[in-house]
């Protein structure tokens, strides 16, 4: 039970850290403007190709991708505890260090989902991509599932980057770009080069996105297996992060570097 409390507190810290960067105005003017323009940027490729079906594909994929970006960048948020010198205090406390560190991701998942949900009406109107009202709960549910799955990746990434905080921005952006390229965001997985598609199979969002598309396109795809695969993918990444966090703490205590950036 204490772990749950730790998670809640860590989530709150993550939220406070976020609000120290953004005010509501700068979040809207800065962040939302950028992400909406980002979706427009990629979706315009459909106009270049002169194929409305391609445009629709790009719109949906890049909209879902919006939920992944803050989530995966949550790996950077995890590193802030080390950079601010808080890590020794976390480790020295009896509560679960992993919960304290990974719990930061809660606010990142929320930010990701809220970003996508706020951008959706604007984007879908702009590109004339209709959504059936009855599909909205399922779509939102799948979006949340994909974001939570991505948090598993962010957890492992954060644990790795805690060992080398200098590479935090590069590492997390690399993960974001990998998802953008490998997970069927801009072209279907079957049109993705084999090597990239294989990577996409083990990354979060791939299966959740297929499920979302099948609802949007009203195709008769079995959602169950896709949901399970998405859950398993995210879960696997999260489980992989646990020994990484343990190693980080062990290494820090062995080398006396917990208080170093």
């Amino acid at each position: 039970m204490n772990t749950l409390r730790v998670l809640r507190v860590a989530a709150h810290v993550g939220y406070v850290d976020k609000t120290s960067i953004y005010t509501p105005w700068t979040w809207i003017a800065g962040w939302m403007t950028r992400v909406i323009a980002q979706v427009v940027f990629f979706s315009l490729l459909g106009a270049l190709i002169e194929d409305p079906a391609v445009t629709r594909f790009l719109v949906i994929g890049n909209l879902v991708m919006l939920a992944m970006m803050p989530t995966v960048m949550g790996a950077v948020v995890i590193t802030w505890d080390r950079m601010k010198g808080v890590l020794p205090h976390i480790v020295a406390a009896p509560a679960s260090s992993t919960a304290a560190l990974a719990g930061r991701l809660t606010s990142s998942v929320v930010e990701g989902v809220v970003t996508a949900l706020l951008a959706a009406p604007v984007i879908l109107l702009l590109f004339d991509v209709p959504v059936r009202f009855v599909d909205v709960p399922a779509l939102v549910g799948l979006l949340v599932l994909s974001a939570v799955s991505a948090a598993g990746l962010a957890s492992l990434l954060g644990a790795v980057l805690l060992l080398r905080t200098r590479w935090r921005n590069l590492g997390s952006n690399l993960a974001v770009f990998a998802m953008m390229v490998c997970c069927g965001v801009n072209v279907p997985p079957e049109a993705t080069p084999d090597a990239l598609a294989t990577v996409g199979q083990i990354l979060p969002m791939t299966h959740g996105l297929i499920a979302i598309r099948s609802i949007m396109d009203s195709t008769a795809t079995a959602l169950g297996p896709l949901i399970v695969r998405e859950l398993l993918t995210g879960g696997a990444w999260f489980v992989a992060s646990l020994p990484m966090f343990a190693y980080l703490i062990h290494h820090g205590r062995a080398t006396g570097t917990l208080d170093k950036e």
């Binding site: 953004y22 315009l44 490729l45 270049l48 391609v54 921005n169 080069p193």
Partner: protein, 254 residues
Amino acid sequence: MALLLGVMRHEAGLMRREEFLPLVLLYPLAIAIVMQMVIGVGQRPDLGSFAVVGPWLVGVWQLANLVAGETLNKERHAATLEPLVAAPASTIIVLTAKVGTVSLVSLLGLLEAVAVAAAFGRPVTVHHPLVLLWGGVLTLVAATATSLVLVALYVASRSARTYQNSISYPVLVLGGAIVPVSVLPEWVQPLSRLIFLSWANDLVRASFSPGPAGGVVLASLALIALTLAGGGLGGWLVHRALRRARVDGSLALA
């Protein structure tokens, strides 16, 4: 000349050791891959030049906005701005050399885009090499001039990060970095033509055209005009910003 080269060498040395450089070069790589995949799905191999020039221009802009634009703020944060201003070398010239070096680095993005095109089996052929060289030079100079404007805006602003974020993709969209301006809504097109990216796109892509390289003169004149305007405005704004910082004591962080 010694000053320019010396500063550029110094800036290159700094950039080699910074983590943001590989990060910024990720953009052209990722976008080149995405564009090649989309061209493949759309069965439009004729758009190959877009998939080379577009990613490069994205890199040019991201470097200008996210890296060059930050120059004075970074110096201030590192407490190296005061020694810079207190030195006899012209701060404006030093700054121009710094942001110019950053622009040059964008050429790596062009190499990435070319390599990706080859990897996807759609290598591009340069039919007009002089146009490519000329277009490349003009683009980099225009980017440098634009960077000066950004430096001035960001050093005077308390919310530089917000502005950097908020204008990054809008400028890429409006500026016609990866799609021709004609694809954008008509009411937006005049605005697009005020951004150097659209002219750079036209000019550099002309070098890949198997037929005559059209629109070279117009695009060149436009880029030169935008460079002079941007460079003049940026230089003046930076000069004013530095003067104001000396008046209100903000060359250093409090």
